[in-house]
Amino acid sequence: MGNTASVVTSTVFWASLSTLLVMLPATGLAYLLARRDFRGKQILATLVSLPLVLPPTAVGYLLLRIFADNGLLGRESLGFDLNILFTWKAILIACAVMSFPLVVRTARVSFEAVNPRLEAMGRTLGHGPVRCFFKITLPLAARGLIAAMILGFTRAMGEFGATVILAGNIPGKTQTLSSAIYSAQQAGNEPRANLLLLIALAVGFIAVFAAEWLARPRHQIRSAP
């Protein structure tokens, strides 16, 4: 039982941490994609979305190649060892990469839903672009951004393919909720698999319900007189 509890708490911890890591760059990129036109915008948007459509194992393998000893960020090219593979850091990286596109897409939609003329209005009232972002755009997009964060969190919670390749499935070290279910099922440990399944259902339900609740319309829109 103790092992089950630690799998759940560390999975929740890793998923939360990877979501926090992802939020800032994903929000920034989402704002850029929603508001600015620049050369290569479509390419960038496509690259960012790729992990969403690739098999997670393919992404995991790609990351493995990057962090392998002879990879782009490996010991040989950096001159020192980042010591990422098969550690909790690998879980964070795998989860972050896999949830990033989902967060960017959701955040982008919530920025696009904010009328840019409201920002222009803020400018005429004496506020510079940065203050307009924090005083107008961010609060108006906030609920969408929180929903994006929850989606990113659930994606990280359920991450399996990339995590298993990059971090392995080492009980007590890099085992997550999803890899623990896999191991339990493979080992024929049905009670443990069932318990883990129930926990996964509960966490998933709470997260999605929270996202739905945040996305509900807050005010009835009154028809013009």
Binding site: R123, L125, G126, G128, L140, R222
Partner: protein, 357 residues
């Protein structure tokens, strides 16, 4: 005044034509009139600094806002403008009071109190802006702009989104703003009443070019513009003073004349404005006795314009009163043999009159 209040010399490429403006404005309120899609809002936004594609020179009270040759572009936040767009653009995450205080320079409690009184905003302050009616939104947007202590007020169709009753309510607020804050203003409008009641000068724009400029009545009675006015047609504005009231109507002084008008909300002795649509004005060449219409005043014809279908008459009741515009068919004009300088009698019913506080 040695420095013109507003000097606009710029071009702005739009979808189907270029906006080309070359205009100096010395007075307080400038009206911008024109059909939809003529570039009016783009003009306002270029003045506000929201159109980076504008090329040329814009100065306001001696301060350079745009000078493409010298690479000067003053961003909107440094122009001290109060912009009231057509769609209000209130911030839905803030309540009315927070909206009013949103401006960078909105920290004058006395000013805020005065604005709230002037626009009757006190009962709304804690309300959510999404729950306001059209007229309330309009007043909050106006209040927010005024409370930011602007040097120039830009109003885009302040009455367009409102129905007849609300229009009559908002116009007095605008007149109060004009009188209380001696701010220069640019007002886009389709509405002859608004333009006459508020503007010292009007420019008419079509496809990005200034077609005509001058006093409101002169510009709006020009035959080529006459048809583009609000669906209700041209409406005269008569300044009157309420004199007496009975059960069904009121009496008001109009210059040396007395009119019978619908009962106003204003008290006896107050100055108000009366609207009289140009097509409700009948012309007689002799005074008529035994008529149901209760208003009959003498006037001199100043101008006859128009084509073979319709004539637009500009008449003067007295030199100190604004001129009036009457609409006649070409045949009626021929039959009466109307000439410039002739004395005619203007006949109109009490029920044809609109009271604007």
């Amino acid at each position: 005044m040695s420095v013109p209040r507003l000097k606009l010399q710029f071009e702005l490429p739009l979808d189907s034509f270029d906006l080309e403006i070359d205009f100096k404005f010395e007075q307080q309120v400038l009206g911008i009139f024109g059909p939809s899609g003529s570039g009016k809002t783009s003009l306002l936004e270029a003045v506000a600094g929201l159109r980076r594609a504008a090329r040329g020179r814009i100065t306001c009270g001696g301060q350079v806002w745009l000078d493409t040759h010298k690479h000067i572009f003053r961003p909107p936040e440094a122009r001290a403008i109060g912009y009231v767009p057509q769609e209000h653009l209130l911030f839905s995450h803030l309540d009315v009071l927070q909206n009013l205080c949103f401006g960078q320079r909105s920290h004058n409690a006395e000013l805020l109190q005065e604005i709230c009184q002037l626009l009757e905003l006190e009962p709304l302050l804690t309300r959510n802006v999404t729950q306001l009616s059209g007229g309330e939104k309009q007043r909050v947007a106006l209040g927010r702009a005024l409370n930011s202590q602007p040097k120039l007020l830009l109003l885009d169709e302040p009455l367009a989104a409102l129905d007849g009753t609300l229009r009559r309510k908002i116009l007095p607020f605008l007149i109060r703003i004009k009188e209380r804050f001696s701010l220069p203003m640019l007002i886009i409008s389709h509405n002859p009443v608004e333009l006459q009641a508020l503007c010292d000068e009007v420019i008419a724009i079509k496809a990005g070019k200034i077609q005509r400029s001058g006093p409101a009545l002169e510009v709006l009675s020009a035959p080529e513009l006459y048809d583009e006015e609000a669906a209700t047609g041209f409406e005269n504005i008569l300044p009157v003073r309420v004199r007496a009231q009975d059960a069904h109507s009121a009496r008001a002084d109009y210059g040396t004349h007395q009119l019978v008008i619908p009962i106003p909300a204003a008290a006896i002795g107050q100055n108000i404005r009366i609207g009289l649509p140009a097509h409700e004005l009948l012309i007689a060449i002799h005074p008529i006795k035994g008529l149901s219409a209760r208003n009959q005043i003498a006037a001199t014809i100043q101008r006859i314009q128009g084509d073979t279908q319709r004539k637009i008459l500009t008449v003067e009741v007295a030199p100190d009163l604004p001129q009036l515009v009457a609409e006649l068919t070409h045949e009626a004009c021929e039959a009466l043999e109307l000439k410039v300088g002739q004395t005619v009698y203007l006949v109109f019913k009490t029920s044809a009159l609109q009271v604007y506080g």
